[in-house]
């Protein structure tokens, strides 16, 4: 009796020890040697993605696996890009658990370029580097490149911006509804704000509708139309001195202060509900926003919306969003992963991503492809989306990006929300935004 109790206790202790150590077991990092790389050897590649990157839905993995029967592709998708990036950071810190291919969002690429360039394969050192570089808009290639010319990721899509507007609401407010006429309404942001005042003063527009969804719509799109956005040329945050920030703040805070916006927080519940309720007549539209509007409003929204160029687009276009694919250098299948990434981001595949899943190409060759240029969107009254966004993409300037762009942008858009809600005066809001930005960047 005593004996059996004793052995059971021993077992218990041993089991506990095993459980504890099992959790800490690491995988050994077998670094792939380029010389050993056999392109026909069977290999399973994992691709870490976030949100709706649609590489799977557009059928690109299947196509690649058909071309290369030895390759099996597995995607690990995380719904929210912020959550995805947090786990990527902890994995980078531990240098373990990384996928063979890791997607990177524009909001995070600068941090990786600056602090973790060594962890990823340098595409600029490849034999076909010149050809690769030629595949992308120079600013897109530049966003993934370090100061010493390493390029750690290749671009997938971009978010050239336009302005979406509700035809029905414009008509009720007595504004023109034709695409070309609307484009003439707002050559500049000043003109756009005048139209907004006109809309808000109209007695015939629906009583509870505003001209634009949020001050953030104005701020986040016009901030990239200056020479600098949130950073100086070296990528150091300088929100207080940037011409882009100052201008964007002037436009957006005026709109907020005068009550021209519905003051919704973008991507919040009320914002989502507001699409169907016709609470606003315009919204800044990066190419990917079309899909978002479509999914929020469903069939009832078909034909209600149309697309015009962004105010001030003649001088400078603006980009919001976009992603990259990078290959961790220590991965056991880095060579095979490199081939996959080069194929996925090649112009031909970017054309497919646009025609099948509406992700706008980051490659000028793809953007100029007849299939892209000629594309129209039935849901948006047959708007020539390929042409509109293609023109926008060609006009995007290279504004330096930095590791804290997402946080600084949030600091400004929340301060604008406060101004619009009457919680702060314009100057006070500016100070609050700078303080919050300082807290985010300064440490």
């Amino acid at each position: 009796m005593f004996h059996s109790t004793k052995s059971r206790a021993a077992w218990g202790a041993a089991l506990a020890a095993v459980l504890l150590t099992a959790g800490c077991g690491g995988s050994d990092d077998a670094s792939a040697d380029a010389a050993d790389y056999d392109p026909d050897a069977p290999v399973t590649l994992t691709v870490g993605t976030f949100g709706t990157m649609d590489l799977d839905n557009a059928g690109l993995y299947d196509e690649y696996m058909e071309l290369h029967p030895n390759v099996t592709i597995k995607q690990n998708n995380v719904a929210q890009s912020a959550a995805y990036y947090k786990s990527l950071q902890t994995r980078l810190a531990a240098n373990s658990g990384l996928d063979d291919v890791q997607a990177l969002e524009i909001g995070f690429i600068a941090d990786v370029v600056r602090n973790h360039a060594d962890a990823f394969v340098d595409f600029a050192a490849e034999e076909n580097a010149d050809e690769l570089e030629g595949n992308f808009y120079d600013w897109k290639w530049g966003q993934a490149s370090t100061a010493d010319g390493e390029t750690i990721a290749l671009g997938t899509d971009i978010g050239p911006q336009a302005m979406c507007y509700r035809k029905d609401l414009f008509e009720q407010a007595g504004l023109p509804t034709d695409r070309a006429e609307v484009a003439e309404l707002w050559p500049t942001w000043e003109a756009y704000l005048e139209v907004a005042e006109q809309y808000m003063a109209s007695p015939t527009k629906p009583a509870d509708s505003a001209f634009v969804d949020s001050p953030a719509s104005i701020f986040s799109s016009s901030v990239y139309q200056g020479d600098l956005a949130y950073n100086d040329e070296e990528g150091n945050p300088i929100p207080a001195e940037s011409d882009g920030v100052q201008q964007a703040w002037d436009y957006a805070s005026q709109a907020a202060d005068e009550g021209l916006t519905a003051n919704l927080s973008q991507f919040g519940d009320e914002w989502n509900a507001a699409f169907s309720n016709g609470a606003f007549a315009t919204i800044a539209c990066p190419a990917w926003m079309l899909g978002y509007i479509n999914s929020q409003m469903g069939e009832t929204g078909a034909g209600l919306w149309d697309i015009a160029p962004l105010p001030g687009a003649d001088e400078s276009a603006s980009n919001w969003g976009g992603s990259f694919l990078a290959v961790p250098e220590d991965g056991p299948n880095a060579e095979a992963a490199k081939d996959l990434v080069e194929w996925l981001t090649a112009p031909e595949q970017q054309v497919k991503m646009f025609t099948r899943a509406a992700h706008f190409p980051s490659s000028p060759q793809a953007a100029e492809d007849p299939e892209v240029v000629g594309a129209t969107n039935e849901y948006f009254n047959g708007a020539p989306t390929g042409e509109i966004f293609g023109e926008s993409a060609a006009n995007i300037q290279r504004t330096p990006i930095g590791p804290y762009d997402t946080q600084i942008q949030e600091a400004f858009t929340t301060a604008l929300t406060d101004v619009a809600a009457g919680g702060a005066e314009i100057d006070e809001g500016w100070d609050n935004a700078l303080k919050a930005a300082q807290q985010a960047t300064g440490g």
């Binding site: 109790t5 004793k6 206790a9 021993a10 218990g12 202790a13 506990a16 020890a17 504890l20 929210q80 912020a82 947090k86 950071q89 902890t90 980078l92 810190a93 941090d111 602090n115 973790h116 509870d208 927080s265 973008q266 991507f267 919040g268 519940d269 009320e270 914002w271 509900a273 507001a274 309720n277 609470a279 804290y404 946080q407 949030e410 600091a411 929340t414 301060a415 929300t417 406060d418 809600a421 919680g423 702060a424 609050n432 303080k435 919050a436 807290q439 985010a440 960047t441 440490g443």
Partner: protein, 328 residues
Amino acid sequence: MTIASGTVREAAIAAPPPASAATSPARPRKRRQLTRNRWGYAYVAPFFLVFAAFSLYPFMYTAWVSLHETSLSNINGGTWVGLENYRNLLQSEFFWNATRNTFTIGILATVPQLCMALGLAHLLNYKLRGRTFFRTVMLMPYATSIAAATLVFSQLFGRDYGLINTMLEAVGLQAIDWEAGTVSSQVAIAVIVTWRWTGYNALIYLAAMQSIPGELYEAAEIDGASKWKQFLHVTIPSLRPTILFTIVVSTIGAVQLFGEPLLFAGNGTTSGGASGQYQTLGLLMYQQGWSNFHIGQAATTAWAMFMIILVIVGVNAVIGRLRNRADR
């Protein structure tokens, strides 16, 4: 004489039975006792190993990180800055704003919650038809996930399409922008917390009430005390240790309040409202560490929260002890 007889009895108990004394000398017997104890340690070891791995180690590690300036992706590196993070924290208006919010939301949530729980427990202590049903229903909010509850409540408190504003407008009142205002947003969050925890505390009170001897009530009734007087002068004093316990637990919960304000924003931002009007310490820590990636600062805030909790628990314990001493 009594003392002597007592010692004799103890000696008799302590003395080994003659048979065993004859077969084994004192030393091996002692060793066997130790062996038996050693297996006792083995039994409790798993707990302490897990505790060390998942509580003690992170705890010390957080302290170490808080003395560095470092980012999430470089958690083991960073530069040693000593107490710099603590100084920055104490000078940061974001910290004081979050501290203030944590306390006001804490009071808004805890006080009505515990009062209501006490009242509910008192009612459920009567003989009621369907008593078990009510007791079960009361615990249901506690079994609901914070995320689900907060998402539902933040829709109820929505500015344009929320049910509460629709009702306010239906009775001719002005709609409230719940999320934008300081007081209104804090009240809304306090409502979520109260909804979730009232039933739980009520059940704790109820359990304690059932252990109050019935004679006390009988005696009070004979003395002519009304039900209300009985509640005030019999129930509450008997519940004092339980009340102290629930206050301590609720206060710790209030200092750590995080999920509700995070999800109340509705779009995943961590600033706790446009002017930080409902940013709590927990949310500030999350913002520092996981939105801004300054993990050293976040660790500092975590330690500050721990200190605040220690102070509050200490004050509670002192008050409890003083009350006890005063009663004696």
